[in-house]
């Protein structure tokens, strides 16, 4: 690349900051730049251009009354004095667009948001390929770099005892969920399924472990009453939509100069076609990952249906075809989490997600038992197998807590989370801690958030860090209970919570849309954009500023750690993890936690 002589001309009375930025980039690239003083008469500028024998002239000017005429006259002068054909002539400024540059006789027009790279390509007469500078996002392994070693020896020792207790209890137990997962694992081949090959062996075996919904589907072709298949036309337009969107989509980075947290949001409109639209919008506005939400009845049903199905209420039905279509629509860089933390299909969800190519899943025995309605014994047996499959398919899983919706105090919820985490580590999995950043019933009553939302949430992260070196992913979604029906308030609140996550250096964060708490139905697309834009702006605002620790944070940190320790003591003393769940040691009726009943008495001894 030959060194170019570039004349930078601020035609504006005062503004030349854009040119100064470009100048730095050009100087760094080894070009010779001359910056004229602002507001010289046009004739003098033309004289200067002739005298300097410049290769390129970059003019900056904000458009205003009579400015177009001034610029046209400037270009005419260059043409008349014979230098126009010898120079590369560009204009930049507010309200400058390529059409206007063409009209005024420039070779290029640069509007707001022009990068130095674009200007450099113009100066070097290279074709500027948008995208050559596009942020190339790569999937991050959220668990990478963590040793999973415990920093709190006392808690580690108790967790080890409890993990032994759980594994011994479950050693000779199984459930229909575990059986279906095993059948899905052994007999369901994703390649054969994708090729529409016959899988009779699988279906014959599988339906025996399903409840009536599954049996009716596999034997009589009857669907769940609130679902239907897509029509051929709908499928075609869905495929066309994905194709056209993938051609043009760009995936911006939200984190400014930070590498983390990865930002997730949730989809689950019920309609996988609409979900795909939501996912593409989330990706285009910078989300790093998306979380699949299934219907609440999915947790109470033994077995999955199949087919590309849409559901008329919230939550998108987990079927191989639905997951497969969604997977195919994702950008390569997008992290995809399929949740399996609750319900009767927990282990099988992971087998299916693993075979179809999910990146992450979600498991928590304590939450699934106390906040999501599944019988503790069943959830424990199924949870163990879920973790085994997650390890096999290399799916890191977050261990979500339940202090938000149930009202279980953080220390109890964290004790449950740490038990699943320790079990996960023992079984070779990669658990990710998911404390909630929330205005929970605990703090509403206890007053920890009377002044600010920062210190108690920060104390949670500090407490967990004092116990273990593990990845963290506040969720889910952060700040949910601080949102109102006011979209501006919701967006701002979400952005502050996400910024707190960033300043605490956690690995990921799940954010809500601005109408998530009040949509009264599916989340709307504009409200997803609201919060992604707000988070992007907040990340830009704080940059890499760290959060200073306060004495109050330390007090709450210590009380959470000792609270966890005392809960674990009680379980060790009780000597039975499952009974501890039933008896409320990890959250009782007063806390708002009720042992679930779905799948009661379905655990059998082998």
């Amino acid at each position: 690349m030959s060194r170019k002589r570039v004349l930078l001309v601020p035609l504006d009375p005062v503004h030349d900051v854009g040119l100064k930025m470009i100048r730095r980039g050009l100087d760094e690239a080894g070009h010779e730049t001359i910056l004229l003083p602002p507001d010289l008469p046009v004739h003098e500028i033309v004289q200067e251009i002739v005298k300097q024998r410049s290769d390129t002239v970059l003019v900056s000017r904000t458009l205003g009354y009579g400015v177009a005429e001034l610029l046209a006259n400037f270009v005419d002068l260059l043409d008349v004095v014979g230098v126009r054909s010898k120079i590369n002539l560009g204009i930049g400024g507010m309200a400058i667009r390529p059409e206007l540059a063409a009209e005024l006789g420039f070779d290029a027009g640069f509007g707001p948001g022009t990068t130095v790279e674009e200007a450099l390509a113009f100066v070097e007469r290279r074709e500027y390929v948008e995208g050559s500078q596009k942020v190339v996002k790569n999937k991050r392994d959220l668990a990478e770099g963590y040793s999973y070693s415990f920093r709190h020896a006392g808690i580690q020792a108790k967790l080890n005892l409890i993990v032994d207790m759980i594994l011994n209890w479950a050693a000779n137990k199984t459930s229909p969920g575990v059986q279906r997962a095993a059948i899905r694992e052994e007999l369901w081949d994703v390649q054969r399924w994708r090729n529409y090959e016959s899988m009779t062996d699988f279906y014959n075996e599988y339906k025996q472990y399903c409840d009536d919904l599954g049996k009716n589907y596999y034997e009589k072709g009857i669907l769940h009453p609130k679902t239907r298949r897509f029509t051929k036309e709908e499928i075609n337009s869905s495929e066309e939509y994905v194709r056209r969107t993938q051609e043009v989509i760009k995936t911006p980075k939200l984190q400014h100069n930070r590498t983390k947290p990865s930002v997730f949001n949730q989809y689950g409109t019920g309609c996988p076609f609409m979900d795909i639209g939501h996912i593409k919008v989330s990706e285009a506005w910078g989300a790093d990952g998306v979380v699949h939400f299934d219907p609440s009845w999915g947790a109470r049903t033994e077995g999955f249906l199949d087919g590309f199905l849409t559901h008329q209420e919230d939550g998108t039905v987990i079927t191989p075809a639905n997951l497969n279509r969604i997977k195919k629509a994702l950008e390569e860089s997008t992290l995809w989490q399929v949740r399996a933390h609750r319900g009767l299909n927990t282990p099988e969800t992971i087998v299916l997600a693993g075979k179809i190519g999910a990146d992450l899943t979600k498991i928590n025995i304590a939450y699934g038992s106390l906040g999501a309605g599944t019988d503790p014994a069943r959830m424990t047996v199924d949870g163990i197998w879920a973790i085994r499959y997650a390890a096999k398919y290399n799916l890191p899983f977050d261990v979500v807590t339940n202090e938000e919706l149930c009202g279980v105090p953080a220390y109890k919820a964290f004790a449950g989370m740490l038990i699943t985490t320790a079990l996960g580590i023992r079984l070779g999995g990669k658990p990710i801690l998911q404390p909630l950043f929330c205005k929970s019933p605990e703090v509403m009553v206890g007053g920890q958030m009377k002044d600010n939302y920062v210190e108690f949430n920060a104390a949670k992260i500090m407490a967990l860090r004092q116990i273990i070196d593990a990845p963290m992913w506040p969720g889910a979604p952060v700040g949910f209970l601080t949102q109102t029906e006011d979209r501006v308030q919701s967006s701002a609140s979400t952005a502050f919570h996400a910024s707190l996550a960033a300043m605490l250096g956690v690995d990921a964060v799940t954010i809500a849309s601005s109408d998530e708490a009040y949509s009264g139905g599916p989340i709307s697309v504009p409200s997803k954009i609201d919060t992604l834009r707000a988070v992007s702006e907040a990340f830009r605002f704080f940059g890499q500023t760290p959060l200073a620790s306060t004495p109050q944070m330390e007090v709450w940190r210590d009380s959470i750690v000792s609270g966890i320790d005392s809960v674990l003591d009680k379980i060790v003393e009780r000597g039975d993890f499952v009974q501890s769940l039933y008896e409320g040691i990890l959250g009782n009726r007063e806390d708002g936690a009720y042992p679930g009943r779905n799948g009661k008495d379905t655990v059998t001894t082998i």
Partner: protein, 363 residues
């Protein structure tokens, strides 16, 4: 049949009726079966004006029209267009292509926006069989018109709400473009015509010897100082480049003898960036001194079209609205002052304008 020629349509400001004039001519020649090549040195055919946000006349074109426009404009056009050739010339809207309209519809145009490229575009359109090339102008830009055989100037209320001022400006333009003669006709002797090959601004004596020379571009009055020392034996002056208003004022102060011959490259060099009143005063003074003026390349202003429309700014709402000045008065004042045919392009038939184009460049 008309001889192959290139006609420019320039405007004194936005919204003076360039596109309307173009459309009117395209329609006329379409009915006459004349093969037209169309290009633009600006950006034409947009729905909404880039500055005022007011709707603009769309460029509706018919089958067979040859065009040169930027690639990205094709996507915004509803006419079916077949690309004949990519010219490889870059513009802010992609490379220029030469194309033919296969099915009528709307088009958006952004063509070559400097003289140097317009020359190539012109030759290419002729090679594809164009008999007449129309170059649609751009906001306040006139320089590329130097590559045409003559141009039409669209003016009106958008340039100035006072129709008298519009008329005076039109008068100056017409005089500056059309009054000076052809340099070859003035100098006659081929030996003297050779003086016009000079790359510098030169002054010669009665024997046709160059006695002083300065830069080709006369931007700064100081540049003219050497001519003061040779004023008495000077008989002629030739400036191949731009001359600014300040230099014209200085030039007039030099005590050259009566009966001088002043030759400039073309009228554009006296117009661009200059105060036309000063240029016009210079010409009048020269004439009074019995001197003559000529252009190496003549560029006739063949007609003026007037448009009473202007976008009126509304302070209350920070936008523009459609407004008009008195149409009859505008036409009458411009006609009485400008010594070229003047048309109200919206109301007059295009036949007279077409006849004038037919006569252009035949002298």
């Amino acid at each position: 049949m008309i001889a192959r020629k290139t006609i420019g349509i320039a405007g004194t400001a936005k919204n003076t009726g360039k596109t309307t004039t173009t459309l009117s001519l395209l329609d006329y020649y379409n009915t006459k079966g004349v093969k037209i090549g169309l290009t633009s040195i600006g950006y034409d055919g947009e729905t909404i004006d880039n500055v005022t946000g007011l709707p603009k006349p769309r460029l509706f074109v018919r089958k067979g029209l040859l065009i040169v426009t930027a690639e990205k404009c094709l996507q915004a056009s509803s006419a079916k267009i077949k690309i004949l050739e990519n010219l490889g010339i870059d513009t802010p809207l992609g490379k220029l292509v030469c194309a033919v309209v296969e099915r009528e519809g709307l088009i958006v145009m952004a063509g070559p926006n400097q003289s140097y490229h317009l020359k190539n575009v012109r030759d290419l359109l002729f090679s594809y069989g164009a008999e007449l090339i129309i170059v649609d102008g751009a906001l306040g830009r006139i320089a590329p018109m130097v590559e045409t055989d003559g141009f039409i100037m669209a003016t009106g209320a958008s340039y100035n709400l006072d129709s008298h001022q519009v008329a005076i400006h039109a008068h100056y333009l017409a005089e500056i473009c059309n009054y000076p003669q052809s340099a070859k006709g003035l100098l006659k002797d081929p030996a003297w015509v050779k003086l016009l090959d000079s790359q510098a601004t030169v002054v010669w004596n009665s024997s046709g010897e160059i006695v002083a020379e300065v830069n080709d571009l006369l931007l700064n009055p100081e540049q003219l100082r050497p001519f003061f020392n040779h004023s008495s034996d000077a008989r002629g002056l030739y400036c191949p480049g731009l001359i600014t208003t300040q230099c014209l004022k200085k030039l007039i102060e030099i005590p050259f003898p009566r009966g001088m011959t002043y030759i400039f490259s073309d009228p554009i060099k006296l117009i661009v960036g200059n105060d036309l009143k000063v240029t016009h005063d210079f010409m009048t003074k020269v004439q009074q001194e019995g001197s003559v003026l000529g252009y190496k390349h003549r560029l006739p202003l063949i007609s003026i079209t007037v448009n009473p429309f202007y976008p009126r700014y509304r302070y209350e709402s920070d936008n523009y609205e459609t407004a008009y000045i008195d149409k009859g008065q505008l036409l009458q004042e411009v006609t009485s002052l400008a010594n070229v045919p003047v048309f109200d392009i919206v109301n007059d038939s295009c036949t007279n304008l077409a006849n004038i184009i037919f006569d252009t460049g035949i002298q």
